[in-house]
Amino acid sequence: MGSGAHSRRPRRTSRIGVLLVVAILAVASACERRQGAASDSGGEIVIGMYGSLTGDGASFGQSSKEGTELAVEEINAAGGLLGGRKFKLLIEDDQSKPEEASNAVTKLISQDRVVAVLGEVASRRSLAAAPIAQRFQVPMITPSSTNERVTEVGDYIFRVCFIDPFQGEVLAKFAFNDLKATKVAVLKDIQQDYSVGLTDSIVSHFKALGGEVLDPVSYTSGDSDFKAILTQVRSQKPDAVFVTGYYPEAAIITRQARELGMTMPMLGGDGWVGDALKNGREALKNTYISNHYSGDNPDPLVQTFRKSYRARFTREPDSIAALAYDAVKLLADAMTRAGSTEGPKVRDALAKADLPGVTGQLKMNAKRNVDKPAVIQEVTFVDGDVKFVYKATINPG
């Protein structure tokens, strides 16, 4: 023990004082000259994309990054817009975390001074970051967040995909009318807001059609054993089973369901689109999904996109990539019509958008969502790979 203890008073304020000093310094160093909104000064058009390039959403993040990059490259190669100005795309990773998404978007807007933001795939990350874009009056286009509330954040937030309630309606109608199912079961991923939202929508629409829906059963993403819940579902003998989560689990669920002798049709949403769906193998027979995009749509726009994507990334584009591609095209179109990159003008142009996209006609409605039909595709497993075969188109309303 040291001497001189009695000559020192307890330094209660020591750390507070230091922290105060540090805080003052920090605030001072973070000051900058007050700046208005990024003004249009010519030169490159800087846009930002935030996505989950690492973490549990990495697969989707990668797809959306590729779709975005392809679109930007095409536009720049064709001479850019607004008199030869090219896009400069800045990409930030959010590690699949909502807080990081906010960090990324704040940085893009206030450090990199982007004039528009693209992202995110997952609704919960879009919901976290959208308020920032709204506050700074920077237009944000989400390629594939399907939760209704994303565009409700404000008038600067737009999307190019359809929303959960619509997908639910499409799936419910198909099951009821085309598959003639009267009693269905639903498996939802409690950890994914996409899945929860889609489930609610399917349930309400199917009931409205007059069908019976068994109590939805939950699992979590990352789970690998679903036999327990599937056995329970099996005992209730549904005509069809909806699996509203993402493809990694969908693949295994279909397999385990078939292993349990469940042969009824199984249905899912666009979340099923992903490489790892291959895991399902033969179990994928007799399954269907609702989707934005169909690879075998003969429309030249779609086929050109497919060819370019395959040439650039050596794999087949999924719907997430296609939507990301459309988001960039939408933005470029709006800027061209607005004749400017200024936030308010681009926002107004976006609100009136109506152009053909790879994923359908992108006509913006009053809620800043697009009204476009969804396709039902039959999932098939051919030659060791998954192929989506067009089955039907269901229109909104």
Binding site: S14, L19, D189
Partner: protein, 350 residues
Amino acid sequence: MRLPRKLLAIGLGTAVLVALNQVFEHGFGNFQINPYYARIINLIGINVTLAVSLNLINGLAGQFSIGHAGFMAVGGYTATYFTVYHGQALAALAGSTLNDAVGGSLAMVVSLTLGASAAALAGLVVGIPSLRLRGDYLAIVTLGFSEIIRVLILNIPAVGGATGFTDAIPITNFFWIFAMAMVTIVVVRNIATSTFGHALATIRGDEIAAEAMGINTTRHKVLAFVISAALAGVAGGLSGQLFANPLNPQNLNFVKSIEVIVMIVLGGIGSITGATVGATILTVLPEALRSFDRQFPGLRMVVYALLLILMMIFRPQGLLGRWELTWSWLGSRLWRRPAAGPAGTAGLDR
């Protein structure tokens, strides 16, 4: 310290914070805070609260808790829930709304108090049974507890479930974050220098000997645990009600708890200054490394892990060990006068 001087110190501190807050939120003449830096500074403040509160139980008491994220979640969700569903009513009582300083502060105070209480209760529930057990078991139990909390929250639609608590009303600001950070530091420091704190240090040294000397180890450990949990709850309430920072059960998990542990391990388990330094470094570093991250995605977390391992092998006491920053040390350094007392190695040991 005499009472008037203490009051003076508190008053001065508050005044400085309010002034800083004004600059922060509204700028100063022709200057404003860069929003990106502002966000980072706010996050530093919250992480300091988290790290220092964890230090109480991991550093001072020498117990190993990996469930801090769970307490943050409990406190955060409770606080945010209150503000979202009852905040306006409360603000109206004071004739104000949540958007202005009076209403917002009132809501902040009440919600944080509720959050801290809920987290404290959780700490009690977890602490009483598990603090009877040996080190490694406590670690697993706290981990398990935070996972259970996470699963429970996922199943509550009223707080957003998997989407996160996006309905949160952003009443957190610089003032509250740093005021709470300072409160945390003061509380932990006071505990450290009190009899209670010395008992904790004894328990850390040798639990059986402490028990043999008559210290009721379980009661001491539980109390420290509860206080630590309450402060984590405060951090949660601040975090969840920060603009564009919704609470999300996926991110209040094991990994988050580990991140807080890395902060105190880096800075020095057992040192408040160390915890503060660690928290700051680990908040700023990932942002500063964004360009590195873009070049080598995913490497960041690998570096975290390596850091942890290397630290344990080569410098288990962290950057600062148990050293604390004190005025006398600063004084001796700045004015080169002989130190008033043994500075430098004076840490929580005393």
